[in-house]
Symmetry: C2
């Protein structure tokens, strides 16, 4: 068995937003029922080439924000904040892993802070062999946004969205599925503007034009909300990897998206 | 800030045995009160150069044994066993991290399976930068025995004892403290033989002579019990790193050992 030999299957990268598995309005509020339902859908699909990345929601973000972890190490008092941010992300991840393993899904977590160092917030080195081994052997790798070490800043926050794009590009993914708590990508925030229009399909050029507009809406998310997601996705789409933005809070939407069945969503393709 | 620059302080490696923080006679029985007490002792010492490694006790061992994880990948049914073994080790680790962070200790866990690949059970590659960054920045790194990937066997069990010796040697440790549930190293199993005699001091030569005798006692521990510990310790002692075997279940013994104060224990030195 060689570590260097890659699985022949191109992976599908599934992002589960923090807003799906936690209640962003209440600190440390895990939506364990949503986790169970998603675990069931994932188990039912039984995909052999899946890699999951989840966000931090009301676990990671509030404490990271309180201690300004994303901005890097500036004073000693931040250190307990870094420790807490990482710790509660492992707790959130543990709840999701519980839901998967309970359903007999051989899911194994990859801890970003243990194998990734960023530089000015961007992934600089990533010990990929455990992730490769997991994929090759048919496990379900699950990773997540985390507080990580940064060779320039001391530490920072690595978003799940950056991880999605990095892994998709590096492992030449077949496609990306972004599970969020709205039906797709809109021309304005659908939670604020009732007249917001959802896109069914966007090309990279259309997305770029839209990006400037979305940039104006300020999201209360240390990793940038929808506009941050789009910015991270671009390089992967540029490489020809299509991305589907789908509502993961609606039963069976993730199941259908994983199966490649028709589902209400926004599909973004290079051309 | 450069990753490559190492802390000037030589680290002290503290092993907390699985028999200390769990009840080995009952599956998944965490001794959270012992964890609290140990966290308090560690917080009180406030050492700047500490690295902690803990064992699996009744969390890691029973499921690892049930699925023969140490022996490597042989059949599909083991995969859920690997996932479970890793998952419950993260749960045990999480409980200990909780105890430390609750006491304001900036402790950050390092997940072995995310940064280490073994070959035939021995550490082959270890992405050490996160551990180096943690030490250098004055965090308390905490790692543990884990189910890990193996380039030859597919997967296996990496014992906390192998980690202790590897890290001590690699990071040129000042000393090693092994916290167990007996008072030190005996000439027989003190839990079985009441007349067993404890050693106060052993040289490497004396330890080697003893090793053959200890090897005969069969320990119910997938990673080899006391005889496995000794075998793992030898290379570090050979390198001139002294090791103290001390009872971590007795209040303040770990505190005193960390402080360098006099405490009942077995000290093993090269000469």
């Amino acid at each position: 068995m060689r570590v260097s030999r890659l699985s022949e299957l191109k992976p599908v990268i599934l992002k589960i937003g923090g807003s799906v598995i936690t209640d962003k309005n209440r600190e440390l509020a895990a939506r364990t029922q949503e986790m169970s339902r998603l675990a069931e859908e994932i188990q039912k699909v039984n995909a052999k080439n899946l890699i999951i990345v989840h966000g931090g929601g009301s676990f990671g973000h509030p404490v990271a924000q309180q201690y300004a972890i994303k901005e890097g190490f500036k004073e000693e008092t931040q250190k307990i904040g870094f420790a807490e941010t990482h710790h509660i992300m492992t707790v959130l991840n543990g709840l999701f892993m519980d839901a998967l393993i309970w359903r007999n899904v051989p899911a194994v977590s990859i801890t970003p802070s243990s194998c990734i160092i960023t530089r000015k917030g961007r992934i600089q080195c990533f010990e990929e062999n455990p992730l490769k081994m997991l994929s090759k052997m048919g496990f379900l790798p699950v990773t997540y946004g985390d507080a990580v070490f940064d060779s320039d800043l001391g530490f920072t926050i690595l978003s799940g969205d950056q991880l999605v794009s990095y892994i998709a590009t590096k492992f030449n993914a077949e496609r990306i599925i972004i599970g969020v708590d709205v039906d797709g990508l809109y021309d304005a925030d659908p939670k604020v503007e009732k007249t917001a229009k959802m896109f069914k399909h966007l090309t990279l050029a259309e997305l770029k034009a839209l990006q400037n507009k979305l940039g104006e809406s300020v999201a209360c998310d240390v990793t940038g909300g929808m506009s941050g997601k789009i910015a991270e996705l671009m390089p992967a789409i540029e490489r020809g990897i299509p991305a589907t933005i789908v509502n993961a809070t609606k039963p069976n939407y993730i199941y259908k998206a994983l199966k490649g069945e028709k589902v209400e969503a926004t599909l973004i393709e290079k051309e």
